[in-house]
């Protein structure tokens, strides 16, 4: 089922709508946001200069620091009394990034989520358990509103208290699980230790995961562990929260709601706009937001855009799985590696579990990588040599596939950190950033 007719709009109509909305947005930020007015004046651009979608690239880029520098409400285009909801991103350094929603923004957001949950298979028939943490983080409230909009029965479970989560899941007959992929993996492990076989004892059908990147290997892991159909969705609080894009059942990328967001791919070094299909940094312009419109926001996420019509019938552009983030790319001895690539190698190795930790440090002038994994295969206990061989297998795969040399440490099961929200798998001790 397709929730909205905007999802199947012909390309020329969509572009016409985008241009009209882009013009309004540029006008709005010029008139109401001093930061943007100053930037446009600096570049000698007047809102009237925007006459085609091609003109988008004349506009200045926006970065996360622009939000921090204007903390808390400096980039808002409406007075505080128009704001009906605040959220904030988890600021790991200093102040969080604050976002706001007008009444219309809330309506837009709810509709966007209704689109992605419908795409993922959820309908009024479903009972949806939201296992994102409720609070300033956008994940829980965002999904909650949209799930209610499609008529699903929503359980606002929040994250943590995992054994109770499993109990509720069983007792309420939850059919859709919503959360981060890493927490869903942890939950599966807890369910198993409680003697519950998710495939037999639970009614789960759908897994809608987001809030952090994930790999195809992780999808398989989640599908096997829970016996569910797994889709991923994408968003970030600055843009609106979850709901920017989501996967349909064809699983060939995440459909972006282009009537609200105009995506571009740029080269993160030269900042040049790249043609469709190229891999680069995703940049998004919001064209309907009232409280916090953002022009050409640099997401730092590495992906590519695909415009061919999808098998599901939607005409909206699809973004590929996030390959990594420009700021979590590791440069190890001159080799560029995303943690997600390391994850892919680990997940495809038999004998170890899905939890891991990557540690990077300097020894002299050299970058050293150590990876902690958990042994799960008892067949390797016949001899010490088999365990050593497993370590060697992982090491040589990482060398062949990624060109990095990592020391592998085997640990007992359930000893590495588990995450209830976004996973933090990389510890870089080379220098304080």
């Amino acid at each position: 089922m397709i929730w909205s007719t905007y999802e199947t709009m012909a390309r020329d109509q969509m572009e016409k709508l985008q241009l009209e909305r882009l013009k309004q947005t540029v006008r709005r930020v010029y008139d109401h946001v001093p930061h943007y007015r100053a930037k446009l004046n600096e570049l000698g651009i007047n809102p009237e200069d925007i006459q085609s979608l091609e003109d988008l690239k004349k506009l200045p880029l926006t970065v996360k620091n622009d939000l921090r520098d204007n903390y808390p409400f400096g980039l808002f285009a409406v007075p505080q009394k128009e704001v009906v909801r605040y959220h904030a991103s988890s600021g790991t350094t200093g102040k969080p990034t604050v976002v706001g929603y007008t009444k219309n923004d809330m309506e837009t957001w709810t509709e966007l989520i209704a689109r992605i949950v419908t795409m993922a298979g959820v309908s009024a028939e479903d009972t949806a358990q939201v296992s994102f943490g409720y609070g300033l983080f956008t994940g829980a409230f965002g999904l909650h509103q949209g799930l209610e909009r499609v008529g699903a029965s929503v359980i606002p479970m929040s994250s943590g208290n995992t054994e109770k989560q499993i109990m509720i899941m069983q007792d309420f007959g939850t059919t859709a699980l919503i959360g981060t992929p890493s927490y869903a993996l942890h939950m599966a492990e807890v369910a198993k230790s409680m003697g519950i076989d998710p495939k037999k004892d639970l009614k789960l059908k759908w897994g809608l995961f987001g809030g952090e990147g994930s790999t195809e290997a992780m999808r398989r892991e989640l599908q096997d562990a829970w016996g569910i159909f797994v889709t991923e969705n994408y968003g970030m609080s600055e843009l609106i929260g979850p709901g920017v894009s989501g996967e349909c059942k064809a699983l060939c990328g995440m459909h972006i709601s282009e009537d609200h967001f105009i995506p571009e791919i740029i080269d993160p070094e030269t900042l040049e706009v790249l043609p469709p299909g190229s891999v680069g940094e995703l940049v998004i312009t919001t064209v309907t937001k009232e409280a916090l419109p953002l022009i050409r926001y640099r997401t730092k996420d590495i992906t590519s855009l695909h415009y061919e019509t999808c098998d599901c019938g939607r005409t909206t552009v699809r973004m590929a799985k996030i390959q990594g983030r420009t700021d979590d790319m590791l440069i190890l001895g001159g080799v560029n590696v995303f943690p997600s690539q390391i994850e892919e190698v680990l997940f495809n190795t038999e004998g170890i579990g899905p939890h891991y930790q990557i540690k990077v440090f300097k020894k002299g002038y050299l970058d050293k990588i150590e990876i902690d994994v958990e042994l799960i295969d008892d067949n390797l206990l016949e001899s010490f040599g088999q365990l050593e061989a497993l370590k060697q297998t992982i090491r040589s795969r990482l060398r062949t596939v990624l060109g990095i040399d990592a020391k592998i440490h085997l640990h007992e099961p359930r000893t590495l950190a588990r995450f209830e929200g976004k996973a933090k798998r990389v510890i870089d001790m080379r220098e304080v950033k």
Partner: protein, 138 residues
């Protein structure tokens, strides 16, 4: 005689062995023999217990990576050269001993020797042919 031995994966850190023995104690499992060899960051604890099947189930439930395997238990004759003889019998017949450890049962004079070879059935047969006392009852 082939007896059941538990193999448990442990990290080389303080408290790792106690975690294993804690679990066994909690489940009322009696340890007959235990061996761990010098390792760097992880090792395999080999344990002979009175209730191997139950012990395996309990350890797994507690999250340990553990498995049961068959080892040979022999009671060598109390005379100089008896171990030498045992190793020769194995070596001369092309059987490789992967690891070996010994333990004393109370009220017995001689220690038992427990070992694992790359051909358990053949090793047993040879020991029987040579009249060596493989332990039947622990």
């Amino acid at each position: 005689m082939l007896i059941d031995q538990l193999s448990v994966f442990v990290e080389n850190r303080h408290g790792a062995l106690a975690a294993v023995t804690d679990a066994l104690y909690r489940y009322g499992v009696d340890i007959r023999a235990i061996a761990v060899f010098d390792t760097t960051e992880f090792g395999i604890v080999r344990i002979v217990v009175d209730k191997p099947e139950e012990a395996l189930k309990d350890l797994k439930a507690d999250g340990f990576v553990a498995k049961l395997s068959k080892v040979i238990a022999v009671e060598p004759i109390d005379k100089p050269g008896s171990l030498n003889e045992l190793f020769h019998i194995m070596g001369d017949n092309g059987i490789n001993i992967e690891y070996i450890y010994s333990f004393v049962m109370r009220r017995r004079e001689m220690p038992y020797v427990v070992f694992k070879t790359d051909n358990q059935e053949k090793a047993l047969q040879i020991l029987k042919d040579k009249g060596l006392n493989t332990v039947v009852d622990l």
